[in-house]
Chain length 307, copies 2
Amino acid sequence: MSNFVTVNEVGPRDGLQSQGKTLSIEERLLMIDALLDSGIRSIEVGSFVSPKAVPQMAGTGELFKLLPMTDAVAYSALVPNLRGYELAREAGVRSVAVVLSATETMNQRNINMSLEQTTAVCAELMQRAREDGIQARAYVAVAFECPFEGLTPPSVVEYLTQRMFEAGADKVIIADTIGAANPRAVREVLERLATPSAAGQLSCHFHDTRGMALANVLAALECGVREFDSSIGGLGGCPFSPGATGNLATEDLVLMLDAMGLRSGIEPLALVDAVQRVQALTGTPLGGHSFRWLDRQAGKRQGGSHV
Amino acid sequence: MSNFVTVNEVGPRDGLQSQGKTLSIEERLLMIDALLDSGIRSIEVGSFVSPKAVPQMAGTGELFKLLPMTDAVAYSALVPNLRGYELAREAGVRSVAVVLSATETMNQRNINMSLEQTTAVCAELMQRAREDGIQARAYVAVAFECPFEGLTPPSVVEYLTQRMFEAGADKVIIADTIGAANPRAVREVLERLATPSAAGQLSCHFHDTRGMALANVLAALECGVREFDSSIGGLGGCPFSPGATGNLATEDLVLMLDAMGLRSGIEPLALVDAVQRVQALTGTPLGGHSFRWLDRQAGKRQGGSHV
């Protein structure tokens, strides 16, 4: 099984979209600079949603045109619908992601469409992206539990994942939107999906609401998954899910991968600086469970200035 | 494999021993009351060390005589040497634990003895306890990494564990004293030790310094371990190990076990009250990663008073 794990940073999208403070385009660019400086090479930059609904994401097209462009970095954007997709394509986005919530109520509350309508729209978008030579990614959200409907049947997640792959999705991201997963549930879902041939096309997105995000990552690693979303400093939450506090912090994920001898291309201590820069930009206290320890180590390396 | 997992609460010993504030015997009793009320049934009550060295643990013999005595609760105490063992036995302690650090330097710094001396003393104590009909438990400390010597060879941990079992230990507790373990290292150590016949005699003690404690628990569960130490609200650290912040919080451990369908006999929400009572007693801000979520759930159940 591969020794390399892709860490997909979602702070600039999932993190910022739930913040009270709306960052300017320039500030969002500074945040991405901080992420790049720390060695992160896969970034969800923003979303092409209505600026009225999510003002934090206004101007994502403009932001994309200003991004440092190098082949080594994979930038992506979330698109909610065909209009968002067209805007993303026009802005030169090379990788798009759609969100398909696994329950009826979540789709209604989130985007005012039925599950079947959303599935059809997402399938169409996957197909369009494929035709346009754009990488197509699909989130299956509330894949473990829905705040409105309770536990999500693994069979539904399996069905929706298959639908997305059939429609041409390059990757499906199993998302624990409200931080309700546990290692056993992760295994139950992934054992259905992560066949040796499909594992490489799966990713997981965990929230740390109940403190189990890293244990869930471990369960997913054991099932062969080699890509995870995380957010620098744990920035974010889910604005539509009361009680969903905090994405899995990038530094916690990277530190565990590093400690286990898995490669992510990111040096754990390099993330301390990124956390501090993003904290200054957002004005939000940041830092995953390992941050205090990492900060101390980084300080030692610099000659004790942080101790 | 067994569905039942023993949660051994070490807050009254490992938690309190590193606190600035020294609790009175009565306050320590109130703490244990709070733990019992939350459903905890295995408690490390204190240690029989020199009150000069560790004033927080003075009067542990007196405390033992005041404990609510019921067959359903397993109380234990740490004993550093033969003198401590005699004091514990006189106080009516039915289960003692010794600490055997896996490296030369840690033993020297901790108790001013060589590794071989400590091993001999611990072996003798295990044997004595066995003869006296007292449960004998041995911690193998710094089992993954030592703050002075770096990574601990798994072969050393294996050797010391065998020595303790040969000397009559009923249980050996593999302790990540400074929170440096990771799931891969846990597997490496436990695959040597946790044979089907021996797994039931092993326990693990993780610190959450690097945020990986629950992931390490998962790895240990997968190796067949069915007992874990934890500390209410994450109280504590290791006074001898700079940078070792926080034991694994009992509420985080219990919540994950519960979510995975494993039984501990403890209801996760019942721990909220215990965390709050122990916080009031110690004057230390407490709460594991899941505490905010648990507190909110407990509030909802009581009619929204916490929301």
